[in-house]
């Protein structure tokens, strides 16, 4: 008889949870340790807030003329980012660090045009030289932000490591990015409530998933509000302006990574193109928009 266990913890700057059905507590604890260790490893490697992370090392590379030989894992993440950049005609871009920084969520003010123009000079995947496994960043001040991929990838990794360790029923939740280890022991799917953009604790809708992942991209968790106007945390790398889009997009896919990429892409494309693109993609999705005020 399997019991269910829930672990709540913080990792990668967001509230996380591990839901598990296991024989006994020690087994569940083992899965939790696996999850924690893996998340700490990825956080350490890709953090923006550590001076010994790979991201810091890459920032140090910018404008130096040197190149860095990256490990296989980073190379695969960069390849994935390259593919998304190509598919989205430049909308999906992991080099928007300088812009994101400008639209600092905590600053409470909007940046001026000159600052945006300056930041745009340090943005653009095409400015990178990525020839697997060699990376060089010719433009000084440019930096990479893998935040849009790593959290989803981490969810998939934790789910896979738990499966490798013999767990078959459970789910990983990294701040709303979910990866299923396996359906409930009775074979039923995990029922996920999608939060309403305006009422935090109220589920607007439910999505059932029994495999793969579910990711949500939205402006309600992280957004800048100036004079009553919402500025999304999703910035168009071509104009340097926040994107007017859905309140949130949730996508379920064979992996959390794909779900996250699809959700972000739909947000970037905006309400009309985003909805069409999701239709064409054919993945189960849920888009929430605000009515015009």
């Amino acid at each position: 008889m399997l019991q269910s266990f829930h672990f709540s913890f913080a990792a990668m700057g967001c509230p996380c949870a591990l839901h598990l059905e296991a024989e006994h507590e020690q087994a569940a604890q083992q899965a939790f340790t696996i999850a924690e260790t893996e998340l700490r490893r990825l956080d350490r490697k890709y953090s923006h807030y550590r001076d010994d992370s790979l991201i810091a090392e890459i920032a140090d590379l910018a404008g130096s003329g040197r190149s860095l030989t990256v490990d296989d894992e980073t190379a695969a993440l960069l390849d994935f980012a390259a593919s998304l950049h190509q598919q989205s005609a430049g909308l999906f871009d992991i080099t928007t660090g300088a812009l994101t920084h400008l639209w600092d969520l905590r600053s409470g003010s909007i940046p001026d045009a000159a600052a945006i123009a300056e930041a745009l000079r340090h943005v653009g995947w095409q400015r990178l030289q990525w020839q697997r496994p060699e990376l060089s960043v010719p433009v000084a001040g440019m930096r990479l932000d893998l935040g849009g991929i790593v959290k989803e990838y981490a969810a998939d990794r934790v789910a896979q490591l738990c499966r490798d360790a013999g767990f078959s029923h459970g789910m990983v939740d990294l701040g709303g990015d979910l990866a299923v280890i396996g359906a409930h022991a009775d074979g039923s799917a995990w029922r996920i409530g999608i939060k309403s953009p305006d009422a935090r604790n109220y589920a607007t809708a439910h999505i059932d998933i029994s495999a793969g992942g579910l990711a949500t991209s939205g402006d309600y968790e992280r957004c800048l509000i100036v004079d009553g106007r919402r500025y999304s945390h999703i910035i168009d790398p071509r104009s340097g302006q926040p994107i007017e889009s859905f309140a949130s997009v949730s996508v379920s896919a064979p992996s959390c990574l794909v779900a996250g990429a699809a959700a972000t892409m739909a947000m970037l494309l905006g309400t009309v193109n985003g909805a069409n693109w999701l239709q064409e993609l054919g993945l189960p999705h849920l888009c929430l928009s605000r009515l015009p005020e």
């Binding site: 990794r157 305006d198 990429a261 693109w277 189960p284 888009c287």
Partner: protein, 421 residues
């Protein structure tokens, strides 16, 4: 609550898409390259040596690190007129260190030193008949062993704010020391880190041959010390630190083995039983990313109430050569003024305090060091040499009196560091 509308096509319940659209195939294809399980091996793999821009960051990530150094310290023979042996100190030392991180919460370091000293040491100076100086040294070779153990615990070593607790014990045939220390680093602002700490040491002396040589039989001394420093991140390649250390020594601060020639008598070395010392220190580090090198510049000014002032400046260049080699040349200059009760010898009664210890005289010293390091996977081998010369003429300021006992030495060292997870 704002009204919401659902998108034209809200998601229904299906779990796995039944049809695979062209964009989805591309998306899935791109994600497939990032196989979550294929990377598994990377987790336990040693740090990738192909990361060339920063071979160094890797060795700090290791959970366990052991280090060993062997060194030989050899002082030049005593020159000029001597009574006793010209053969000065020779020290063979073994040092061990174990660094162990205990999760993210703590890091423990244990280091041990075992050194065997032999040779003779300067006792006092006699004036010669024709105005020259005669250095009197211990005749028979002294032999002593020193063992030291230092334990250091750092809590939350990866956080900007962290504490360091240390305890050390040092034991010789004739000298024992027990010390405790506390340090704290605290981020005041993103660019600015405050450091401060206190330490206390309790030392006891039991000189050998005390009765025969008219030495003190037993004595104690204590040292209390405090420091405060500020470190600035100046830009992405440089850091500057400045700080002050205050030290208070009290108890028997004389050297039980040293003597002083006063007229025709030879008396014990006699120093005040209190010494207050202030050190002001500035350290600068600058990385030269293109040259794959770093510059170290350290300056220290010390002032004490025995009226000694000293300046020392040290310049180091840390050069990485390719992925595995490092070459570290460094130069140091030191100069100090004399203690107000120092003299090579005294013609008549000097007052309460008198010392002829060359370490309290006015002199300067120049030294150069070269260290070569080579990595082999998790191992790093280190070999180096230092040459140190001191001379009364190297001191800053006007011409100084001759100090016969000043020391010059050559030091060789070799060892390794080995780190693993």
């Amino acid at each position: 609550m704002k009204p919401l509308k659902k998108s034209p096509k809200p998601a229904s319940a299906p779990v796995v898409p039944t049809c695979s659209s062209a964009p989805l195939r591309i998306l899935l294809g791109a994600a497939a390259a990032l196989s979550v399980s294929a990377v598994h091996a990377v987790v336990d793999a040693p740090p990738d040596p192909s990361v060339e821009s920063d071979a160094a960051a890797a060795d700090q990530g290791q959970k366990t690190r052991t280090s060993y150094r062997y060194s030989e310290y050899d002082e030049d023979p005593q020159t000029g007129r001597v009574i006793g042996s010209r053969e000065r100190y020779f020290v063979r030392a073994h040092q061990f260190r174990l660094d162990q991180s205990i999760g993210e919460r703590a890091a423990l370091a244990l280091s041990g030193t075992h050194e065997v000293m032999s040779g003779s040491s300067p006792w006092y100076v006699l004036p010669g008949a024709n105005g020259d100086l005669i250095q009197v040294l211990s005749g028979a070779s002294i032999r002593d062993t020193r063992r030291e153990l230092v334990a250091t615990l750092v809590t939350d070593p990866t956080l900007p704010d962290h504490n360091t607790y240390s305890a050390s014990i040092s034991d010789e045939d004739d000298y024992k020391s027990l010390a405790l220390g506390f340090e704290r680093a605290q981020a005041l602002a993103p660019q600015l880190t405050l450091g401060y700490g206190l330490s206390y040491s309790d030392d006891s002396l039991d000189p050998t041959d005390a009765i025969e040589q008219n030495r003190i039989e037993h004595a104690n001394k204590n040292t209390a010390s405090g420091f405060a420093s500020l470190a600035w991140v100046l830009d992405r390649s440089s850091v500057l630190q400045a700080g002050v250390q205050l030290t208070r020594h009290d108890g028997y601060l004389s050297d039980p083995y040293k003597q002083v020639a006063v007229g025709t008598d030879v008396l014990r070395d006699a120093r005040p039983d209190l010494r207050l010392q202030t050190a002001a220190i500035v350290r600068y580090r600058r990385a030269f990313a293109d040259a794959n090198a770093a510059l170290h510049l350290d300056y220290r000014y010390v002032h004490d109430d025995w009226s000694i002032q000293s300046h020392s400046i040290e310049l180091g260049w840390y050069q990485s050569l390719g992925k595995d080699w490092r070459l570290v040349p460094s130069l140091r200059y030191y100069s100090q003024s004399a203690a107000d009760f120092y003299s090579a010898f005294f013609v008549d009664s000097p007052g309460r305090h008198a010392s002829s210890d060359f370490r309290l005289s006015a002199y300067g010293a120049v030294s150069g060091k070269l260290n070569l390091r080579k990595r082999f996977g998790d191992w790093e081998f280190s070999i180096g040499a230092e040459r140190y010369r001191s001379n009364e003429h190297y001191a800053l300021g006007s011409a100084n009196d001759i100090v016969p006992g000043l020391v010059s030495f050559t030091r060789f060292f070799a060892g390794f560091d080995y780190g693993f997870d």
